[in-house]
Symmetry: C2
Subunit: 509 residues, 2 copies
Amino acid sequence: MPSEVYVAGVGMTKFGKSDLTLPQLMVEAASRAIQDARVNTIDYVFIGVMSVEEFTGESNFAALITDRLGLPGIPSSRVETASSTGSAVFESAFYAVASGYQRNVLILAGEKMTHLPTAQTTKILAEVIERNERKYGASMPSLAAMITRRYQHEAKLSDEAMQSVLAKVAIKNHYNGSLNPYAQFRKIITAEDYFAARFVSTPLRTFDCAPITDGAVAVILTLDKKPIRVSGLGHATDTMAVRHRDSLTSFRSTRLAAWQAYNMARLSPKDISFAEVHDAFTTFEIIGTEDLGFFPHREGWKAVEEGGTSIKGRLPINPSGGLKARGHPVGASGLAQIAEVVLQLRGDMEPSRQIPGARIGLTQNIGGLANNNLVTILERADRYRPIPVYWKPDYDPGNVKPREIPDEPLSVDKGTLETFTTLYTTPEGIPSPLTLGFVSISDGRLIMGRAADENLKIGQTVNVEKQGDLFYIRPSAPQPPPSPEKGMEGVKRWLHRALSSPDPKGDDR
Amino acid sequence: MPSEVYVAGVGMTKFGKSDLTLPQLMVEAASRAIQDARVNTIDYVFIGVMSVEEFTGESNFAALITDRLGLPGIPSSRVETASSTGSAVFESAFYAVASGYQRNVLILAGEKMTHLPTAQTTKILAEVIERNERKYGASMPSLAAMITRRYQHEAKLSDEAMQSVLAKVAIKNHYNGSLNPYAQFRKIITAEDYFAARFVSTPLRTFDCAPITDGAVAVILTLDKKPIRVSGLGHATDTMAVRHRDSLTSFRSTRLAAWQAYNMARLSPKDISFAEVHDAFTTFEIIGTEDLGFFPHREGWKAVEEGGTSIKGRLPINPSGGLKARGHPVGASGLAQIAEVVLQLRGDMEPSRQIPGARIGLTQNIGGLANNNLVTILERADRYRPIPVYWKPDYDPGNVKPREIPDEPLSVDKGTLETFTTLYTTPEGIPSPLTLGFVSISDGRLIMGRAADENLKIGQTVNVEKQGDLFYIRPSAPQPPPSPEKGMEGVKRWLHRALSSPDPKGDDR
């Protein structure tokens, strides 16, 4: 039997634009966690950083940090899984403690990003994308935007309704961030602010995308009994190429990881008091709450509309402000989610943002474009544990079969447009604006293509032509330009109901 | 009690210059290990790569590899500790299995390096060096060269004797590599070859330095009982700056890691049948054998002279050919050492290079300039285990105390030259040749400095002047140029005795 693993302490820096170096940020977070944990010894230091070599020009970073901590001698390893690094380093540290070989382990995750030009940062972040899709100039926001448009199509939402849902996620998370002293953005945003912001990649605007952030987080795990216990871990990958997935609007990596975490914890989605969900893009929060089993597929947006995911709702999502408002130092976000859950479960929050009676919290952290995801469940060690639950999801989670990577077709005549976007913030070296789409061809494969402009419609037949090594999409009949997004009035009415007046908790969720 | 962890299988690619991509190399190594292990499922994939983003432009590498393996879904994390990555990823995987949460774990380590110009590779590898020392243009070979010259001084060896010892290490490891079908270099080298090669950084020549290599290695760990067991792991860091160390000629990170590994395995250095020691530079093999407790400090060179570390000697060191001849794909070398030990312990080697009766093998792997080192001990599971041993080293290994990083002095007048080198293969952007030295100043601190040329002598008083942000060293009285290195004839005589005629094993080591 593995040993139980407890959280001894947490600490973090304020997230945002910082003049400190990454080692300085990490030392600050570590000092706070060590003070919080009151441990006498640290036996191992696990470091989580995503692209530290490219962001800062430093390698050998695990040893660098133990030196800066004044602890040269202590073993140290760096763990990395792109933007889910913060959760992955927690997982590896958990195993080291659960094995019984390490008693007190310090986990440190951080990233320093704001010092580089945005186009360069976008390029570094785009290296997580599959090489063929990257070749077209696809960035993280453009892929998220195409997933958003596809979600709207499958959920049968009007442009107005979809924009309105996304705005509500952004406004909710900024509201939560305004209560969080560690958040990058501490100002609430209004419907006017949301709709006045420019498009990053249609239909996603500035407030739909997590910012570029500096920050560090520390968590100490221990074999000694403490008030918070790690109860469930799940971790799963998916194909690199988005076009090779079985769905554009649900992430199998989250579904598999959630199933593992619930089973290890002997819990079901109904047992979760609140969750930190990876909202690098507002759409991803909605999809996340569906993949985690909180809401049925394509219906997560309804909970946002009803205010059920606001901090006073029945299932608060991202009480910290999420990646959206707390900020997103890529390697640190997963550990920041875990730190938020620990503080909420301990009841240590400022009263304005304490979730009353929270006993079990969950985090969901996305690596890359949702191809290395982790789910982590923590609980109060004094929680009464009734009969264990074996959660059966409504999909087959165990079906990981070896597969061949589909060949890329050499030439294509025509196909059906599955989704598209126009990207305005392109990676370094790619001209802006850039319209991209996914087209399904006769044998069911998806291909990526570039298009001349946005006169496109999901479901229409398009001609495809190869120029150089890229496919180009041409609509067989041009569409009218998409209607300008509206919905501001609806968001204003929702705002009052969902955030200002607490929603009494019910047990019938 | 943690679970016992066994090695189910190993596999590797031939090391050298390859036209394959790193994912292709990793898939090849993984296929061989899966075939060797005959496991039906893989529950987790741990990936070890050092600077994959800078060498290949790919990030999110753990997910990329599970995809290429045809296993999207399986959880995957990347672990990194610079050049000891191969051992560190093995350690994290070990914890995952020992915790009981993972049954069969695939560990994959690799690096693709030969496609870049040498100056660029040297620059990427130099990012492991502390920022201040890097500023002077210090590269890994130049620091290793200064350590070598200091070792010679402390061991009271003549130039001729030191060159002769280094040549013997290189010739021995190339001889071993000639027997290893996976080695990059399969040709023996002669004393003439060694002494004809150019200096990389005085007194180190081409054959003293591990090459630039492509390659990948796979190891599968399991909870199921198999013939080879993991019996000891040790891991320790040291200061980033070489000038902040307590010794220039012994690595505290190795000593600490060795002590931990021996204690976990309940073994002493006397129990080890053979070892793979991190010979990125020939000197490091000698220092490694001392730090591991095989030989007294400053006397490791005697074992080389006596032929005791050759493949037929009493304690074979680097039967694989070591980093020197097998090659050094930086993230993979530690796991290649482990694979060699597994095959030797299983008795699966070609008869020409099988170490007879090998029951316990050890690997020592250096991260950075010896500031993140690991020691791993494996043994035959059927080995008779007498009374457990608690090894007491002749140093205090437990003395890890928090420390302040010493300030860099603002100005210096004079000091004592502790060691120096002239580097010919400088990192990108640094003019060649470059003479560097370490100088001790009145309060005992070491500083790095540049010098005009090599008319220097260890122990002499030097003047130091600051120009810009660099210190410059000027000898108060110029020295005669160092004598040209000799010793070829002695190496030729040694060659016949140490490698050609097997040395009968004795029990009195």
